[in-house]
Amino acid sequence: MSVLVLGAGGFLGLNTVDALLEHGVQPTCGRRKRSNVLGLRQRKVPLVVADLEQQQTLLEAMRGFSTVVHLAGHYPRLSTQPELSLQVAQRQTRHVLDAAAEAGVERLIYVSSTATVAARADRPSDERDLYARTPGFGAYHDLKWAMEQQVAAEKRLRPVILCPGACVGPFDWKAGTSAVLWALKGGQCPPHPDGVVSWVDARDVGLAIARLVKSSLAPARLLLAAQSLGFHQFIEATAARYGVAEVAPALSAEAAIALADCEERRVEVEGGRPRISRELADLIVHGPRVDGSHARALLGFEYRSLPEALGAFDAWAQRLGVGLSTRTEVDAR
């Protein structure tokens, strides 16, 4: 079995590589010329240059592989340049699809997001629920939707689309979802709206991918979420774990989005990190309740609990010995 993982050195990438190794599969890991491969070197997995901006490197990297796991979908830190973000996302996705088709890849496992999952009033959302058109909430939702549309329309491969919720666990180098956790660990309650968060242990995302790789299953789309709960409730539970003395009340949706926009404009000039990102505000405000039971039944695993996920995050943070500080990332880096 030959598996190439794109985005292997990142948050979900390392969790996926670990799960594959535990399942007896040694993946080859795509890397950019400039990327952090320290974690991959420690795991002693083979590396190959695969830059999403350079289609020829993708083609050369993919030759001979039957399965490609694509975890490297464009992820802009800020939502301030939506048109540019969308262009980058669609261009890179086209490069991956064209290279995979030309290289003769049989199966593409693409990791999308529950940002593409449309909310239902009558029941939790499941695999059937996808926005019929671009959500229009903000840059993150729109580009995730656009990329998933590109992959779903692909006829030359057998794409499997996974949509994980907010991932909690080790190796979140970019402090995406874990920005909230780092703030709480530091004794600060970040400003936040209320809404719904559907979270999943990042190790379970890796596990689901490994089970898919090992099987001949080819579902078109699977949602991965352990639980959906109110975001303020999530904050309260996590704040209690980290001993945060005072939990800030939830902002209204409008106030949270306005604050996020203001913060993102500020950090574009000053650097640093927004106290709340537009992506996070949109995800919470528009977050659907997600039913992740189909993936659990199909792939035969049980979702880990929130304390287990937070415990893994804490253990990783302790090993690092420092908090992650982040600055604005340039969109097309």
Binding site: R34, S35, N36, L38, Q42, W173, L320, G321, S325, E329
Partner: protein, 84 residues
């Protein structure tokens, strides 16, 4: 492995300039990677990774995350080179 200090530090400064907002001539050993050179945690880990790749060093993520200054990065790299 023996690499002359001048060559080693020169290449080190070039790598730092690649991932920071500074030119090679502006980078000083006492500069802090994040506060002075504008790197975030991702950039600083990328830097150490590039260094490890360039010189074939076996550096752990935990050790890399503890590097805060240019001089700290040089010292860490030197330690690994001398141990190799």
């Amino acid at each position: 492995m023996t690499i002359p200090d001048a060559k080693w530090e020169s290449r080190m400064m070039e790598l730092i300039a690649e991932v920071s907002v500074m030119k090679v001539s502006q980078i000083k050993p006492e500069h802090r990677l994040r506060e002075d050179l504008g790197m975030d945690s991702v950039c600083s880990l990328e830097l150490i990774s590039m260094l490890a790749e360039e010189f074939g060093l076996d550096i752990s993520v935990e050790e890399a995350a503890g590097v805060n200054t240019v001089s700290g990065a040089i010292a860490m790299a030197r330690k690994h080179i001398e141990a190799a």
